[in-house]
């Protein structure tokens, strides 16, 4: 697991001996942290992204100490949502949360997190009631036969419900109850005082440096880097950064093909990677890569991240009308799966993935043709579908190498 073994947390652990970053999971050496689990593949300590199907695709979850890069869809609708799921999952698991943004106030974002499907949690927390209620939930609630007096009593909310379960489902129509709030840190660029302007440091570099310092301060003060043996965190720090590289951060990679500050973002990412690797933290950033003019920068940004997924929503695109996609809201491209502590990475079987959003679930599925239920479907529309399926497989094919050439 990518859980960093710093001197503080894993005292007496000298298997690796450097006090840095990745370490093989050895049972019992780590205090069990709620909301985490070891990977079945390589033993990394994982946390959930808040979307169970996404966890599955990227190899079980996000390894602690790594960075997930979400390439934003055109309007940023779904990427923002994924970020909120990630933060909500942190709140439920009792993790500490750090939110940074240049356009939306992080306080608003934190107040607008989706509510977990709580009955699920209640059941989970109480094994007795789980057994009893299993299958009879509605039954027992609708008509109580013995303790009928209690039937109309308001249900008790178990106050701060912390679930140690891995991955939850959320109800988008409700917001997270106020009682459930994690310890949070916010970084809102417009509210941050600009430091004394140093010479020959551009504005964007300056912004990134401030953000980096803010993260480092939290990591250091709360003891996530293990530097403070008194403060042994029993939890994980989740860092969420929104729309990194956008114009609001002062960056010009989205507006120029040959930007003046083309190294600011990559430098920031490298430093962030270094910070994450040496601490009990995990980070999700969203980047509007579709705006980045120079493709070389996109590739460099991807290379400096660990896991990279791209969202392509159908909103406003001609794919919206395509019958093939009628069940979905967008496509999900997995660009990169990290190789952590191993030679191989957990690559999913298929790369043709699509997502759909419902009130209670954000589902990522293998893309398939919708079943042909009607009897009256004309031959021509079937052909239409088949044609678009072909188009799809070439469009989403893993390596754009051309279909004609097969190596064997």
């Amino acid at each position: 697991m990518a859980a960093p073994c710093h001197r503080g947390v894993s005292a007496g652990d000298d298997a690796v001996g450097t006090g840095t970053s990745f370490k093989r999971k050895v049972r019992g050496k780590f205090p069990a942290i709620p909301g985490t689990r070891p990977s079945v593949h390589n033993g990394q300590l994982l946390v959930s992204t808040g979307v169970p199907s996404l966890d599955h695709i990227i190899g079980g979850g996000l390894a602690v100490g790594t960075l997930l890069l979400i390439e934003e869809d055109t309007y940023g609708t779904y990427s923002h949502l994924l970020l909120k799921y990630f933060l909500a999952e942190g709140v439920i698991s009792g993790h500490e949360v750090f939110v940074a943004s240049a356009n939306d106030d992080p306080t608003d974002t934190l107040q607008d997190l989706p509510a977990p499907l709580t009955d699920e949690i209640l059941r989970q927390n109480d094994p007795k009631s789980t057994k009893e209620a299993f299958g009879h939930v509605e039954d027992s609630q609708d008509m109580m036969k013995i303790a009928w007096r209690y039937q109309n009593m308001p249900k008790m909310e178990a106050l701060p419900i912390l679930s140690s379960r891995f991955g939850h489902y959320y109800d988008l129509s409700k917001t997270m109850p106020l009682e459930m709030s994690a310890k949070s840190h916010r970084f809102f660029l417009p509210h941050v005082k600009p430091p004394n302007q140093k010479e020959n440091v551009s504005e964007v570099t300056c912004n990134y440096n401030q953000l980096l310092e803010a993260i480092q301060r939290v990591v250091h003060q709360e003891g996530y880097d293990g530097s403070n043996p008194q403060k042994r965190p029993k939890t994980v720090l989740r860092v969420g950064i929104e729309s990194l590289g956008s114009v609001l951060w002062g960056d010009d990679i989205c507006s120029h093909e040959r930007p003046e500050n083309q190294h600011s973002l990559t430098r920031f990412l490298y430093a962030l990677r270094g910070l994450l690797r040496t601490s009990l933290s995990v980070c999700v950033i969203t980047v509007p890569t579709h705006l980045i003019q120079n493709e070389a920068i996109t590739t460099r940004v991807r290379n400096l991240s660990d896991t990279v997924v791209g969202l392509e929503s159908f909103i406003g695109s001609e794919m919206e009308a395509n019958p093939l996609y009628k069940d979905y809201h967008g496509l999900l491209h997995v660009h990169q799966i990290p190789r952590l502590n191993s030679l191989i990475s957990d690559v999913a079987d298929t790369k043709d993935l699509a997502f759909k959003l419902k009130r209670k679930i954000f589902a990522i599925e293998r893309l398939h043709l919708p079943p042909d239920l009607s009897d009256t479907v004309s031959r021509s529309s079937k052909q239409d579908l088949a044609g678009s399926a072909k188009l799809l497989s070439s469009g989403c094919g893993p390596a754009a190498g051309g279909q004609k050439h097969l190596d064997f």
């Binding site: 690796v16 190294h263 070389a296 030679l343």
Partner: protein, 266 residues
Amino acid sequence: MFPELNSLLGAGTDTVERGKFTLLCDSKTDGSFLVHHFLSYYLRAGCRVCFVALVQSFSHYSIVAQKLGVNLSSAKDEGQLVFLEGLRSYTDLLFGDNPEAEVTNPLCFLRAGSDLKPLYSFVSAALAPSAGQSWKCPVLILDDVSVLLSLGVPPLQLLDFMHYCRATVCTQYQGNVVCLVHGAEESGDEEKELLRRSLSHQSQVILWAEGLSSGFCKEVHGQLKIFRGAVSSGKKRGQTQPEIYQYKIQDKHVTFFARGLSAAVL
């Protein structure tokens, strides 16, 4: 260390060729398994190794090396391995409050924006021959140099650094240099392409891992092209055509086979 790759390259742990510069490239796939191979190979062969790791943390390399049968920690303790952890050095550089340490930090050129002399000094000091050591020959491994481009180092300065590494390690110390350039020929990254091409002009052996052009496959992870003798007359005149093998990466080793002869097909 992958014995199959060793036999393809004609290398063994008993004798180590000296004075060689090996370039590792990859396109549309991850060629880092080649770095792990050379790291474990040279440690097994008893060479003194300086490993400049700019991509991952020490424990990542350590755990993978363990799978390949080499213990990095003990190699480090015994002085066989000098490990520069780029991620750590860079964060130390940014957040360290000790100005003295900053001067000795091998990556301090990133702050000053000057040439890469500090990193070179680190490397040459780490590999300088000293009395009473029994290691075979010094080896420098860099993973991966193109990261420095992302950190804002101009390609020319990076090439100067590589030139000095070659002059010192390959020629003066009669050792070897192995260097990875990740993600070549993609996305029109001109700086990276310049770096890769310049280095391939200087290298004796180029190992190029490529993703299959027909796309992702479970049984065949890619193909490896071996270019030899891009350099040096006098020595055995190299074959001019690249040898091409396909490979499959497994948990602890990599199998190589001729094109189209994957075990899954036969």
